[in-house]
């Protein structure tokens, strides 16, 4: 229901807030599933930091989404086909919670049985992330660093005035509550 509201709402500020609510609900769901690490990540990153960054971008961009005219039938078609294929694929999934599932018979039991004798770390998730799957985690750390570098590369250049002769793009929608400063130009990425 929250997801539908996110799609429907035109006010980007409200959409950002709804995303935070969505993340918080997901975090609650993960808590119910006993996945403490994932829940903590979802609450901190999804509900916390992404919302702050979305708001920081919104301070630069316009608050209301452009209305797009009409409906895109091709997009609807593609979405329906993809959804149907995904639903069809779920029919082949193994039964939920069955002991012979690949998730239960592959490396999982080894980690569960060996992680404490191997390293004496009670939190199995930390053991898997930092030791068994250490190289993956290093890759993630490098990805974070690269994301920081990318934002730095895009935003460290000081903004310049538009060249004369080019008319700044005006918002198509009404510009309620928009300061003149925000109307003129928004940065290349949102």
């Amino acid at each position: 229901m929250v997801a539908v509201a996110i799609v429907r709402v035109r006010d980007l500020f409200a959409a950002g807030m709804l995303f935070a609510i969505y993340s918080l609900l997901s975090a609650a769901l993960f808590t119910v599933l006993d996945a403490g690490d994932v829940a903590l990540t979802e609450a901190a990153v999804g509900a916390g930091i992404s919302t702050i960054l979305v708001l920081a971008v919104l301070a630069l961009a316009r608050r209301y989404e452009h209305p797009t005219g009409g409906h895109n039938l091709v997009a609807l078609f593609v979405v329906i086909i993809t959804g149907a294929v995904l639903v069809y694929a779920t029919l082949d999934l193994p039964e939920f919670g069955h002991p012979d599932n690949p998730a239960q018979v592959h490396v999982g039991p080894h980690y569960i049985e060996q992680s404490y004798p191997d390293m004496g770390v009670p939190n199995m998730v930390a053991a898997v992330l930092a030791s068994y799957r250490s190289i993956d985690t290093m890759g993630e750390a490098f990805v974070i660093f690269a994301a920081g570098l990318a934002v730095f590369a895009l935003l460290s250049v000081p903004p310049r005035r538009r060249q004369s002769g080019i008319v700044p793009r005006r918002p198509l929608s009404d510009s309620r509550e928009d300061e003149p400063a925000d109307e003129k130009e928004k940065p290349d990425h949102e």
């Binding site: 903590l40 916390g48 903004p159």
Partner: protein, 150 residues
Amino acid sequence: MSDNGILRVVARFLIPLIMLFGLYIQFHGEYSPGGGFQAGVVFAAGWILFALIYGLDNALKVISQRAMYILAAAGVLLYAFVGLLGVAMGGRFLDFYPLLPSPHAAQQLGIITVEFGVGVTVATVVMLIYTMFARRKSEWEAVLREDSDP
């Protein structure tokens, strides 16, 4: 926003708690849910709250932008360095066993160190991204002000 007394008082109360909680899930990540990523994000959130309430300039006095770049790179390099240390001491890349004679202690040392590297990188990168966006706003306003009175 900084004029609001309630916000200031609540923030002054909350910021140390948020940062303490960030450090807790950093260093207690082996025993309870948590780890470098979450800790870095929570710690950075405390800093961002400070920046929102007391202004970005004051927040940049706490940690300068230059320090953020350096720490972001240092965190990742710390991770890779621990991995290479394992190689240098006769193991494989990111193999923690050679670091200390006791296998449990070696693993725990390795895990805590790499998680610390991840935490430092995540925290500083999040701060850096926030700083970039927040500063962009004021830069734009300066440009537009020039524009309006030629």
